[in-house]
Symmetry: C3
Subunit: 440 residues, 3 copies
Amino acid sequence: MALVCPHGHVDPRMFAGNSPYPDPATLIVIPDHYIFRMLYSQGIALERLGVPRTGGGAVEQDPRKIWQLFAENFRLYRGTPTGCWIADELAVVFGIEESLNAANGMRIYDQLCEKLATPEFLPRTLFERFRIEVLCTTDAATDTLESHHRIRESGWKGRVIPTFRPDLAIDILNPNWGREIEKLGTLAKREIVDFPSYIGALENRRAFFKSMGAVSTDHGCVSPHTEQLSTGEANNILQRALVGQADALDARRFTAHMLIEMARMSSEDGLVMQLHPGSWRNHNLSIQRMFGLDKGCDIPMATEYTANLHALLNAFGNHPKFRLVLFTLDESTYSRELAPLAGHYPALRLGPPWWFHDSLQGMIRYREQVTETAGIYNTAGFNDDTRAFPSIPARHDLSRRMDANFLARLVARHQIEMDEAMEMMPDLAANLARETYRLG
Amino acid sequence: MALVCPHGHVDPRMFAGNSPYPDPATLIVIPDHYIFRMLYSQGIALERLGVPRTGGGAVEQDPRKIWQLFAENFRLYRGTPTGCWIADELAVVFGIEESLNAANGMRIYDQLCEKLATPEFLPRTLFERFRIEVLCTTDAATDTLESHHRIRESGWKGRVIPTFRPDLAIDILNPNWGREIEKLGTLAKREIVDFPSYIGALENRRAFFKSMGAVSTDHGCVSPHTEQLSTGEANNILQRALVGQADALDARRFTAHMLIEMARMSSEDGLVMQLHPGSWRNHNLSIQRMFGLDKGCDIPMATEYTANLHALLNAFGNHPKFRLVLFTLDESTYSRELAPLAGHYPALRLGPPWWFHDSLQGMIRYREQVTETAGIYNTAGFNDDTRAFPSIPARHDLSRRMDANFLARLVARHQIEMDEAMEMMPDLAANLARETYRLG
Amino acid sequence: MALVCPHGHVDPRMFAGNSPYPDPATLIVIPDHYIFRMLYSQGIALERLGVPRTGGGAVEQDPRKIWQLFAENFRLYRGTPTGCWIADELAVVFGIEESLNAANGMRIYDQLCEKLATPEFLPRTLFERFRIEVLCTTDAATDTLESHHRIRESGWKGRVIPTFRPDLAIDILNPNWGREIEKLGTLAKREIVDFPSYIGALENRRAFFKSMGAVSTDHGCVSPHTEQLSTGEANNILQRALVGQADALDARRFTAHMLIEMARMSSEDGLVMQLHPGSWRNHNLSIQRMFGLDKGCDIPMATEYTANLHALLNAFGNHPKFRLVLFTLDESTYSRELAPLAGHYPALRLGPPWWFHDSLQGMIRYREQVTETAGIYNTAGFNDDTRAFPSIPARHDLSRRMDANFLARLVARHQIEMDEAMEMMPDLAANLARETYRLG
């Protein structure tokens, strides 16, 4: 069965260039914060794992040493999905059935290198072998989508499409916001001087992304707070931001308003809106200082949806063209807020278990806490949400096994009939993702 | 085994009049927000489901069309308790074993109509066939209990008793509060001019409800916040409310105080107090505007009990005559707050899983998260909490199966002996409800 | 396999004196709030259970009557860990296989008395029979550790070591704080007149505890809020406290700062820091007034870790010598905050399920919600956390069975191999506790 990948973080350059992957450590260990966060938690310095320092300080350069360190500590992943994914990836993608350990680390490294050097392991070949129907990347509002252009122009038939993620363009307190707004204005060919021109530029970029095949947008924020401002208020905040005088309350209200603006745009251009709230980014400041963002130190927080989404859902929750896919890192909201919301508002679909919860038990909890109130048809199917391209089949496989297991238990308890389960399984595996993200 | 129904929303007029039910759509689909909320979440307009508009706008009038639409979309309920209840109700109450779908919808409709026209399906006959020992309704403080009078006077032996629910009389910001207070004064034969006369009128109505067989009161609120005011403070707020000048803080404090007043009255008249907090009522304002209250758009919120109930429990939690049955829509409170509270305060019993959580997995979570700290003897047994009368046997059946399953697992793990399980099963099925609600 | 007991509340005097235990009620019922809280919740007065009144009022003196009342109500513990522990303790420690009830209560009482009078049931003999490798007690900062001295001097080889718990010395609003500070100054041989002398006295006591074998400190607080104050600010608050003029905000900030100070000291002296937040102590004020503290009326509250620990973890979370063992009463934080934190910060280990959650289902929830993000090697192994000495083997046995069950399910699902499970089992049973608490 084909893999539908509506949300993820694979770098599109690998398909534009289609160059061989360099080596196992650079492919698997160094870029994956799921992997190195666990090693770090046991006292292994990120420098020893080759994670690049933003200031350019010395880090381990020998991929063999990095891989060996990983192999020696592979027992740390026992009982984690990361452990399962890597074992599955080694076995299914690379044909290596042994469990990684200190003794076989270098031997497996050499086997992997050998494979990676062959044409069978070029990115596009793997893409086809994995039977990926569509792969959505995640791209800043000011991304030129150069790689996507090159993929299209190459004549390759693999469907790799962008996702519009304007977080930086909305985050008025971010030190890089001013530069982003300049870039945004340049790309949208209009000077951003007030709220209407800012909105116009964003609409222009959405249209561009859509022309490049995008079907959705993505929004990350600490709180899903939404609040309708008047254009005047929004403009006042923007003006303060443009001269560097916005404060924390301004930022909070501006983001809250922009989420509604994005919903409004989605109700017009039909791009599916995704919302990923609830993470305290870069909790460990010394890691951020030395290694930058996304280094495994984002920590979830309690998240409130019922009150926070009231304004947005009352504005667009009943709109026939609008669709919002909602994610959470706070599992206590599944049965309390998210399933009741998704079981009522027509515009709403629940995204699959996300990040820390994209795991065996996490998936069970999700199905058990969501289904009874929202059914399965208000959920968005699976997405792999990964930057680790070769782990994609393992992730879909795990998810499909868990869903099959869930359905089997419903049948065993006589909650559904076997013929219903046979219909629901392809829905969970692919149809819901296709339908939710309008990937027809 | 008889069914004990200490809390629900069945309309007592059906037993007063004992007229035949009109048709399957009017009986099953149109009044049940569990059913139409799911259809609405998938874009089916409430108008097409015959849900009446408050302003009287056009809605579908043909019950056959409504039923057919329901049948066509019955797959949406797969894996939900609503799906199980309806299947069970069709099978056990109406003898229809087929799974409802687009093809058989009209045929099943006709079969149901045929049955509903027979004397075997009159409300009182079903009541007896279901072996309902007692059925508690829910009634406003100003309800005259006319239907309950008629039931009593009819000589019919079915035990249908009222529950005192004074929410509107306490909600001083509600636009209908003033009218309710007038009605309250009229019925209690005293002018409500200050806090003592207000309290006196409520006590008068409680005495009337008790004389009509009531064993309990019921209280819904957003937060279970309780706070002891002086009579002077309470009176000042009431005076402001009587002249339409109370504000949100007044309302919050007044409700918080009135919960303690209601506990005080319960400790005197012995009516069991029920508290149902934690729902944001009418979250979807356009649905409320068009269709009114209770239309499937109430959404739960995080709820705090430990601090909020401190005042009430310190005032009456050790009182030998007081009993408080506590419910929640926030499952994270089961093990964190509710089981520890119920495992300590003698006045407290935990109500069964409520509303969205009155489901297979919801019941499992409840038993697993509550029992180890509170045992089963600090829980209140099952209640069906439904306005869908013919679904009552299905609901009790589901609950009893889940409890039997829970006990079987305790036996299998040697946590309890088989003879203990045999004693606990009737306790869970009926005795705890009888004992908790003093339904001797 | 030996029992490692790194955290608990057993009274060290029993090993210093090694006198026979008086009788079953005094040994098992009267001191154990797990036991009498359940009886109280069903309306049995604490006076009837012999719980001493702080003001010295009359309570039941006859241990036979107390035991009989306990036996008559033993059914209340069905399905609770307390029920399992007692049954296991009676069977394994005392050889009594019958299930306790009204009919056999007195017979079992007599059997227990007979055993308790024999040398086989002296505290030290039981300690050895239980194969306790080490038992940590919990002791105030101003405890002279007299019993620990006597144990050492007696030549007995049992390893019973203290834990430094300075809660009272830090709680500046506590009415007994002033006296505690005086005691602290006396014991540390320095007058406490400002923040540096206060800190010096605490450091002095830590050194003393360490010299007596202590490997850890323990800290209880309502919120795990941490905040770095300047020494000047901290000193100002202390000065206000010394003259009785500190307020609630002072206390909150002082505690928040002292947690960081304690982390700093741990990073220097290597004592493992334990943090137990989230309990509203003495929720039932009339019980507190009559019977004092720790009488089964502490109720958990929602607890926030991600924001609250930010200051402490940024100061010491990456420190190679610092170790923090974190506990919770709020299970919703397992997957949301605690596992992500422990799966990143090298200094952090998650303590086992605590108090109300130290139960079969509680342990399953913990493993299922923690392991996938943090693995097992960021957890601290088991601790029994009990004052009921003879229940210790039952508690470890239960925990080991649950862990074995958990591992068996991982093997059955092919998440881990059998040889991995065979390595993980002793880690969970003892090695992680030894390693976490540096009990080498």
